[in-house]
């Protein structure tokens, strides 16, 4: 696949005399807290992870125990209710001791207090409706999902493809899209064209209907992942001429102790799945 960025590379590498050399990293370590978790529609346990960033040359991760976590909801009448604050910390993850029931149309958020007293909260997000997936087409050129895009709503989707072969997960692909190109289309299509697998036995496609700030988190994550892949591979754009400033993995988390944006997300999202066997 070619791209505009690759076009620029042709210009840079063929027309010009460019060069890349390795240099020492001259930056200083600045620790930050990263929170990740989500609440799905229906009845589910809630999982939350909290970690502290480490220096760039350290390969292990540092997870933060002893945090207090609470999930809140607001119904359509504007009444707030504490859903649960009963979490157990095990294997780097906080897991609710009871299942939490989430209802489409209601608003949810998380509040977290660390041992040192720093507090965080996620944006209040509405649980959106499930997306109806109508069909999935798998060819050698594209993996297509056909679904009904809601009318009169701006939607943001995380689309996950899992390909199974001989009873085992052989390939997993995540794509992110908004509905600019197919808004309100009852037979909207989305094609994933980057990764393929020959003759899968089964494919499972999940569409998560996200809120904007959670989408923004995934957007930043995908951008960073893509830049890491393209910059370390052969189709690189090392110039970063046409890249925006690097974005931190911020989503919908606010540090309420100092009222600044914090790393991470707590997504409120509905999810629908379609399974097709071959």
């Amino acid at each position: 696949m070619k791209s505009i960025k690759n076009t620029s590379i042709i210009i840079l590498l063929i027309t010009l005399v460019s060069c890349v050399k390795e240099v020492p990293n001259a930056s200083n370590y600045e620790p930050q807290v990263f929170i990740s978790g989500f609440l799905l529609d229906g009845s589910n346990y809630v999982n939350v992870r909290i970690q502290r960033t480490v220096p760039v040359d350290i390969t292990s991760s540092e997870y933060i125990p002893n945090a207090q976590i609470a999930i809140y909801t607001k119904n359509s009448n504007g009444e707030n209710t504490l859903l649960t604050y009963d979490f157990n910390y095990f294997n780097r993850t906080y897991r609710s001791n009871n299942m939490v029931v989430a209802t489409v149309g209601n608003t949810y958020w998380v509040e977290i207090e660390l041992e040192d007293g720093t507090t965080y909260t996620s944006d209040e997000e509405i649980l959106k409706e499930e997306i109806i997936i109508k069909d999935v087409e798998i060819t050698n050129d594209y993996n297509r999902v056909i679904f009904s895009d809601p009318v009169d709503d701006t939607n943001f989707y995380l689309i996950n493809y899992r390909f199974y072969k001989n009873g085992r997960l052989a390939l997993e692909v995540n794509n992110l899209t908004n509905d600019v190109l197919f808004n309100g289309n009852d037979n909207a299509t989305f094609d994933s064209t980057e990764f393929f697998i020959d003759n899968p036995d089964e494919v499972r496609v999940t569409i998560a209907n996200l809120n904007y700030n959670t989408y923004q988190f995934y957007f930043n994550q995908f951008e960073q992942l893509e830049s890491q892949i393209t910059n370390s591979g052969s189709e690189d754009d090392p110039s970063q001429l046409f890249w925006p400033p690097p974005a931190n993995l911020t989503g919908n988390i606010i540090n309420t102790s100092d009222n600044t944006k914090a790393l991470g997300f707590f997504g409120i999202q509905s999810s629908s799945e379609f399974i097709k066997s071959f």
Binding site: S18, Y29, L241
Partner: protein, 716 residues
């Protein structure tokens, strides 16, 4: 003298050395003593051509970058930055028509052919009231008018492209023309290289034209035009096509073009009152066609066309009144109708909903008056410009909940405006004041103050501007940019005017910059305002310049110290960049030093040198890492908290001019040399990526080696 006398003299700019006749004059070409305005630089076509050039091709943008106070984010990037301003704050005029793109090939070459121009003036400090619409500078480029007496031509055969200019009379001394064109041809070698390049098209061309009609002694009509285009087309090779199961081929076709047209009527009412009435059209469009390939644009491999652009229609009557030898007045009005087309998507496969974003329209009307008056030792240029801007319908504008940061989820209402309805209006006075005190005829002190409003904004979130960045007018969500600048200076000429010296300082404030939220997604975004942040800023600096105008060695030296900072001012603290603190702009490069020299070696040889040293530009670097979904990710420093290494470069060129042929009038010269003589690997960016689990840091240089060049130039 007992009557008014009018005589026309035609002067041709030239860099030739005349040995047979020694011309002596008080050459004050670079003197700042006579000019009342601060921060004005003139460059003639001949001077531009004397500079050592990238690939041997004279280039006006690179020539501008040799002037004090002018910088860019890096080598090979589009546009230039003046005294802490963004590239969209420069009004680039070609025969009065605004240009919306300044470069071919993503920033490598200027869109304007140096052969076609007479000269240019850069206003970066004191700006006359007749100019407006941009906040930081005006680059006024004037095309040649064409020779009135004889047919002439000039051109060059270069490494990357060739150019030819023809001019002459159609009706002698009555109607004359100029035509100048360039075409690149390096892509003809791509099939020889093969591989991915085999089916690649990569080229540009441009054409400058002008027609001058001397109707009579009191009336003159000028018609000029420009057309330039870049083409990039990538097609899958047969091998890649064969890999596709259905044999379908993929391609990306990307092209952008710029065109302008100016009609100017010059009328002399009497020996005191002159008028220029101009009608101007300017157009910039780009188109992207993707076939069976996502082109990196949309996350879905489909066939589609995407187009965007900006158009201007301008009418401007300008009057000049010479009240007496010491008093000149100018007055007039500028009227500009803008149309911005943010995105037109069309396509071609099923289930794809064509999406056209609403066109933005704006009307700017700006009457002005300026007076320049000289007393014995004191000169002043006073001006007042009043600008009115209306963002006009039809359009739909979203309203967000006032208590939350603006996102698509906080939109509460969408209001529709009818055709011609004023959605939002802004207006303001723009005073311009320049004062000069002559200590004597070789020394002068200057002081100036300017206010400028800018009602259109380039939406660009990348280190280097892209051809497909879009423009947006001010409206409900975007306020006009306001810049106030105070500048002052001292100019000094040596007794025989061999040397000119100047020192200038400035302080600027910027209100209502457009900044971008972290991770902003600007592509075909119907609610672009949700990605923007308001920002303020300031810039200050000191510029020192010295010129040597006479002798075998000529040239100039300039040094600039400058600071350019900004901060976002959202009322929602959590979305402000760097928590609302000041941070350096992308082009904040405090130390900037340029040295240009030309030496007349002997009869047929000239040598030119250019050296530049600049502080590295600010950058944002990784300061930590985390793990998510099994992959390592980076966390970053505050915006622009670090700097890439400083850069420096030396260019050299030699010009050999053999004896011309007197019979054929054919004159030729060879220009050859080295760009980046000692191969300085100047850092354009420093970036970090994961290689496995380990983070590695790299430095990228656009020009990491010397680039030899040779060009054959001719004229007849």
């Amino acid at each position: 003298m007992n009557a008014n006398i009018k005589k026309n003299f035609e002067l041709q700019p030239s860099s030739d050395t005349l040995d047979e006749v020694i011309v002596t004059s008080e050459n004050k070409n670079k003197s700042q003593v006579r000019k009342v305005l601060t921060g004005v630089n003139n460059l003639s076509a001949a001077e531009i051509k004397k500079l050592p050039a990238f690939f041997g091709e004279p280039d006006i943008t690179r020539a501008i970058l040799t002037q004090p106070g002018v910088s860019s984010v890096g080598e090979g990037t589009a546009g230039f930055n003046i005294r802490g301003g963004n590239i969209d704050q420069n009004l680039v005029l070609l025969d009065e028509a605004p240009m919306y793109i300044s470069s071919h090939l993503w920033g490598l070459f200027s869109v304007v052919n140096a052969d076609a121009i007479k000269g240019m003036t850069l206003y970066k400090g004191g700006m006359p009231a007749r100019y407006g619409g941009r906040a930081s500078s005006v680059l006024d480029i004037r095309q040649k008018e064409g020779n009135t007496k004889a047919f002439k031509g000039e051109g060059g055969l270069g490494t990357l492209f060739s150019r030819v200019t023809l001019e002459g009379p159609i009706v002698k001394e009555k109607l004359n023309f100029l035509m100048s064109g360039r075409r690149s041809y390096f892509d003809i070698f791509f099939p020889l290289i093969g591989g991915e390049l085999e089916n690649t098209k990569l080229s540009f061309y441009d054409l400058n034209t002008k027609l001058t009609w001397n109707i009579n002694d009191n009336n003159k009509l000028y018609v000029s035009g420009y057309f330039g285009a870049d083409v990039m087309k990538l097609e899958e090779s047969p091998e890649e096509e064969a890999e596709n199961s259905d044999g379908a081929s993929g391609s990306i076709d990307f092209r952008w073009k710029s065109s302008t047209a100016t009609v100017r009527w010059n009328h002399i009412f009497n020996h005191k009152l002159f008028m220029n009435l101009s009608g101007i059209y300017s157009n910039y469009t780009y188109k992207f066609i993707s076939k069976n390939d996502n082109g990196g644009i949309i996350p879905s491999g489909q066939t589609f066309e995407w187009g965007s652009g900006v158009q201007n229609w301008i009418v401007k009557p300008d009057f000049t009144y010479y009240a007496n030898p010491n008093t000149t007045m100018r007055f007039g009005v500028n009227g500009t109708l803008y149309q911005f087309n943010p995105a037109e998507l069309s396509n071609v496969v099923d289930n794809f909903t064509p999406e056209d974003l609403d066109k933005d329209k704006g009307l700017e009307i700006a009457p002005y008056y300026e007076i320049e008056k000289t007393w014995d030792k004191f000169t002043m240029n006073l001006g007042l410009r009043y600008s009115w801007f209306g963002n006009i319908g039809p359009n739909s504008v979203a309203t967000s909940h006032p208590d939350f940061p603006s996102t698509v989820n906080t939109i509460t209402d969408i209001k529709t405006y009818k055709k011609g309805e004023v959605i939002k209006r802004y207006s303001g006075f723009e005073p311009r004041v320049s004062l000069k005190y002559d200590i004597n005829d070789r020394k002068a002190l200057k002081l100036g103050y300017n206010r400028n409003y800018q009602y259109i904004h380039l939406m660009s979130n990348t280190a280097a501007a892209l051809p497909f960045d879009i423009w947006k007018p001010s409206g409900i969500h975007i306020k006009p940019l306001e810049v106030n600048q105070v500048s002052g200076g001292y100019a000094y000429d040596t007794e025989d005017a061999t040397y000119n010296f100047s020192v200038e300082g400035y302080y600027k404030t910027f209100s209502n910059f457009v900044e971008y939220k972290e991770g902003a997604d600007l592509f075909i975004n119907e609610n672009l305002e949700t990605q923007l942040l308001p920002a303020d800023g300031y810039a200050y600096g000191l510029e020192l310049a010295a010129y040597k105008n006479k002798g075998r060695l000529t040239g100039n030296f300039n040094y600039t110290y400058s600071v350019s900072k900004r901060k976002t001012t959202s009322k929602f603290k959590e979305e402000n960049i760097n928590n609302g603190g000041y941070y350096p702009s992308n082009y904040d490069r405090p130390h900037l030093l340029n040295l240009t020299a030309n030496y007349d070696l002997k009869e047929k040889w000239d040598v030119g040198l250019f050296f530049t040293y600049q502080t590295g530009r600010p950058t944002t670097v990784p300061t930590g890492r985390l793990s998510f979904d099994g992959n390592p990710y980076l966390t970053y420093s505050n915006r622009n908290a670090y700097r890439i290494p400083d850069t420096h470069r030396l260019d050299i060129s030699f010009t050999y001019t053999p004896e011309g042929n007197a019979d054929t009038r054919w004159q030729s010269s060879w220009n050859f040399g080295l760009y980046n003589v000692y191969g300085s690997p100047n850092a354009f960016s420093v970036f970090s990526t994961f290689h496995g689990d380990q983070l590695k840091t790299f430095q990228f240089s656009v020009f990491g080696a010397p680039i030899p060049f040779i060009t054959y130039n001719f004229k007849f």
